[in-house]
């Protein structure tokens, strides 16, 4: 009697895919799995303990064997035992989990940065060199990669199960996560936060390549313009350079080398200039007025797409001197040919 082909296929599939754990493809995976195994063990032992207690008592004290129950008030000692032991285990779990959390969310200083923009229903990855990818992400092996994420519309969540990382992409603010891939291969990328009709279509692939292959890939897929270059163009076309020119008479503060520094605001508070700060300063300028300047900057809310903002942030991040800013400003002011029309392929980043 032969098995039906459908059932046969099903069994074959089962054997092929009988994995109980996802691949350990990132530096953090073994640490997460270690905690997972500890917790699974705790669950199994805990459940088995309860089951054994129930089973043994059920057999020993069933009515046939023990017709009359002995009334017991309770026992403070026993109760203290099963208060303190679980509490201790849970506290260990808490500390362990907290350490892991900081390990997953605190990127090392040398991490390379890739921007991720989530929108209904796709993931867009932007490499600093200007490479764009949709629903795909190429990363090099063995190098810490930091993802700076934002959503253009609703909550999304960026999850790579084989790397054990996940972070919500939130509208209106940057979130970050980092990983270091340890295995060449392709891995699933999911959106795990329900985001509307095509939620389950918001999936992609993460490709881990050897550093050499990655370098080749970068060269092949470049759009010719890095994010910072796009940013420079935007900086000029939005007229940012008319105030942030870095000259003594400028109406806005100089932006050269501002990234990573501590800025004093008009209300006296100090603030660290990071990606999130720069983004917010463009959209809500009056909340972050640098000491010594008037709150005259207009808001760019609605005029810049998230991609455009990323370009600008990346530009300001890499701005070491005001020389080029002033040059661009002079040329555009004098009516000579200025790079106000970005070349094809990057115009989509400006949302007039």
């Amino acid at each position: 009697m032969g098995l039906s082909p459908v059932l046969w296929q099903f069994l074959v599939k089962w054997l092929h895919n009988s994995s109980l754990f996802p691949a350990e493809a990132s530096g953090i995976s073994p640490y997460v799995d270690a905690l997972y195994f500890f917790l699974v063990l705790m669950t199994i032992v805990g459940t088995a303990l309860v089951a054994v207690l129930m089973l043994v008592f059920s057999i020993r004290y069933r009515r046939e064997k023990n017709p009359v129950a002995t009334q017991i008030e309770g026992s403070t000692l026993l109760e203290a035992t099963w208060t303190i032991i679980p509490l201790a285990i849970f506290l260990v779990t808490f500390v362990w989990g907290a350490l892991l959390y900081f390990r997953i969310y605190d990127p090392p200083a040398n991490a390379m940065n890739i921007y991720i923009v989530g929108k209904q229903w796709m993931w867009k990855a932007e490499h600093p060199g200007g490479q764009h990818e949709i629903n795909a992400l190429h990363v090099p092996l063995g190098k810490p990669v930091q993802l700076t994420m934002i959503s253009q519309d609703v909550f999304h969540s960026f999850s790579i199960p084989d790397f054990r990382i996940k972070r919500e992409a939130i509208p209106g603010r940057y979130t970050t996560v980092w990983f270091e891939a340890t295995q060449v291969g392709t891995y699933h990328l999911f959106c795990t936060q329900y985001c509307g009709t095509q939620h389950s279509g918001m999936v992609g692939e993460v490709t881990v390549m050897t550093p050499e292959n990655y370098k080749k890939w970068l060269e092949q897929s470049t759009s010719g313009q890095s994010l910072a270059q796009n940013g420079e163009r935007l900086f000029a076309s939005m007229g940012c350079n008319s105030c942030h020119s870095g000259t003594a008479a400028a109406r806005g503060p100089s932006l050269a080398g501002v990234y990573g520094s501590k800025l004093t605001l008009t209300d006296g508070s100090q603030i660290l200039v990071d990606d999130a700060y720069l983004r917010d300063a463009i959209l809500n300028p009056s909340r972050h007025v640098t000491a010594g300047f008037a709150p005259i900057m207009p808001t760019y809310q609605g005029q810049l797409s998230e991609d455009g903002l990323i370009d600008l942030v990346e530009f300001i991040k890499n701005l070491q001197s005001n020389y080029r800013v002033q040059q661009t400003f002079m040329t555009s002011a004098s009516g000579e040919s200025a790079p106000t029309t970005p070349p094809q392929g990057t115009t989509e980043t400006v949302n007039p």
Binding site: L35, S58, R63, I72, G74, F94, R167, T175, T192
Partner: protein, 558 residues
């Protein structure tokens, strides 16, 4: 009765002469209006029981459709929109129209006044109003469904629900708003009744643990639900006028909504589970004929759960960019809230020790509860642990976890309670062997459905996915197969309980030889419950008192 030491404590009156009491709350008045305008807590409980059963099966049908779609990795049964509407309706109906009112509004309503020795709840009219609000909420939910459905998910996450969907979000939000007030009024009624209507001698520490559990759950209902109400009002206003409280492009904070939403919706989990724990305490004690091990610890752990339960809501938002320090605090508090549940489990287990245990259906369901709730609770610790939560949240792991707590825990407790008090509510017994079969079927079906989902979750399958990568199929097929078994397990009680209404054996006053006040009166009870105000002169679960009482009755009669 004492001669028959067998494997059951069931003691029914002689069926050839026994009769349902001539006067009881069911036949006290006749006609549909006498039910629809009743102030009797027992009749309102029956009204609630009928309506929540109706919604349970609607919600269950959606669950079935979801599992059917997930049989194959391709999106082939229904479109994505329809699928999203399925799981949204499943969530809204099961949570707001089934789980939240399940035990409190039916068993709680029926039993709390009797257990306290009172004639009724403090506010019978508000009790009836609560049922009408529930019905209006339910009708609005069905209206949202019939008009085209909602696809926000039961969590109504902004800005998705406010700016990106054009389905009937406002109708659904209003449905929940109104059903929420039904829950507030039930909780309010319970608290006042427990504080003010206890019979002479009924001190706080003589109350059955069922009442303690309901007291804790009622606190959560009264304090948590209004916050959900205002959050939903703000969502509706934002949709109507586009103001921007939750819209980041206008300066609003979408996380604010989540804070307000989970401030209710996490305690809501305890609103659902605490009354179930109350049922388990009663059942375990009765069928091991023993006082609950550590009565005070079990009572206070209910209150502790309610108290801590209010301060853990942010653990739903660990990966949403909340500050690291608040994440630490909320993770720690989450660990603390797990402890009282552990205490309860072990106290119940040790109640069995040196008992005289029998295994009737309610006891089987309770055993099921203890096993499944232990797994559900311990997997909750995974999610409360910060680093683990990153990988597990928003996957099928979390789906499996809360179904273990809600379905494995609460639904098992609900069925345990329904079987346990069925003879009291109707005066008739359910068929024992069939019901044992149902209990076992449910247990097997449940594990087959949800255990594979833990593995799926760790493999990374996201929740609310209409289509999924093909390598997840095997586990999904297992889960769907389990859901089929589970469906049968839930249909059975519905059928044989209906059958027993007419053909079940006459139960008598106290078929289980239990100690609660509700078992000392006739079944089904009189409209006024007690002919004279009872006086509580013994502790709860005092089986010696019961034995003496039975002996005295025998001597006086004989």
């Amino acid at each position: 009765m004492s001669a028959a030491i067998g494997n059951t404590i069931l003691s029914l009156p002689d069926q050839s002469t026994a009769q349902i009491p001539k006067r009881n709350y069911i036949n006290n008045e006749h006609g549909l209006l006498s039910w629809l305008l009743t102030g009797d807590h027992k009749r309102i409980a029956i009204l609630y029981l009928i309506s929540i059963t109706f919604f349970f099966f609607i919600g269950g049908a959606f669950a079935g459709l979801i599992r059917l779609e997930l049989l194959t990795p391709q999106p082939d049964l229904v479109s994505s929109d329809t699928y999203n509407k399925f799981f949204t309706m499943h969530g809204i109906i099961m949570i707001f129209l089934f789980l939240v009112p399940s035990v409190p509004a039916t068993l709680g309503n029926f039993l709390i006044p009797i257990m306290l020795g009172a004639k009724d709840l403090a506010f019978p009219k508000i009790n009836l109003l609560s049922w009408y609000l529930y019905v209006i909420g339910g009708t609005l939910t069905l209206a949202a469904l019939v008009l085209g459905g909602v696809d926000t998910g039961w969590t109504f996450t902004t800005p998705l629900s406010t700016h990106y969907l054009n389905t009937h979000v406002i109708t659904a939000a209003m449905a929940i708003f109104i059903a929420g007030f039904a829950s507030i009024f039930t909780g309010l009624n319970f608290i006042v009744t427990i504080h003010r209507m206890r019979c002479p001698g009924m001190t706080w520490f003589r109350m059955p643990l069922f009442v303690w559990a309901h007291y804790a759950a009622s606190l959560l209902m009264v304090l948590g639900t209004p916050v959900l109400a205002i959050a939903l009002v703000l969502v509706a206003l934002e949709r109507l006028f586009g103001i921007g409280v939750f819209d980041p492009t206008k300066g609003g904070d979408p996380l604010l909504f989540q804070h307000l939403f989970w401030f209710y919706s996490h305690p809501a989990v305890y609103i659902m589970i605490l009354p179930g724990m109350g049922v388990i305490s009663e059942v375990i004690s009765t069928f091991s004929r023993k006082r609950i091990f550590g009565y005070t610890a079990v009572a206070f752990s209910s209150v502790a759960i309610a108290l801590f339960g209010f301060f853990v809501w942010e653990h739903h938002m660990f990966i949403m960019g909340v500050s690291n320090y608040s994440a630490l605090v909320f993770s720690l508090l989450t660990m603390l809230v797990a402890v009282p549940s552990a205490i309860k489990i072990f106290n119940w287990a040790f109640t069995l020790q040196k008992g005289s245990i029998t295994f009737e259906t309610p006891m089987l369901y309770s055993f099921g509860f203890m096993g499944l709730f232990t797994i559900g609770g311990l997997t909750g610790v995974f999610l409360g642990s910060l680093g683990m939560d990153i990988h597990l949240t928003e996957t099928y792991f979390i789906v499996a976890h809360f179904h273990f707590v809600m379905v494995g825990g609460m639904l098992m407790a609900f069925l345990a309670g329904i079987h346990f008090w069925w003879p009291k509510m109707t005066g008739r017994m359910y068929p024992e062997s069939l019901s044992k079969l149902a209990a076992v079927t449910t247990f097997i079906g449940f594990n087959l459905t949800f255990l594979p989902q833990f593995i799926l979750g760790y493999l990374g399958m996201p929740r609310r996915y209409h289509a999924y990568p093909p390598e997840f199929q095997v586990l999904n097929v297992l889960s769907t197969a389990g859901a089929t078994v589970l469906g049968v397990g839930y249909m059975l009680p519905m059928l044989y309980l209906a059958w027993s209404l007419k053909y079940g054996a006459i139960a008598g006053d106290n078929p289980w030889q239990a100690t609660g006040l509700e078992w000392q009166i006739q079944s089904p009870p009189l409209t006024e419950n007690f002919t004279e105000t009872p006086i509580m002169d013994h502790e709860a679960y005092d089986y010696e008192w019961l034995a003496n009482k039975t002996k005295n009755e025998v001597t006086t009669v004989g």
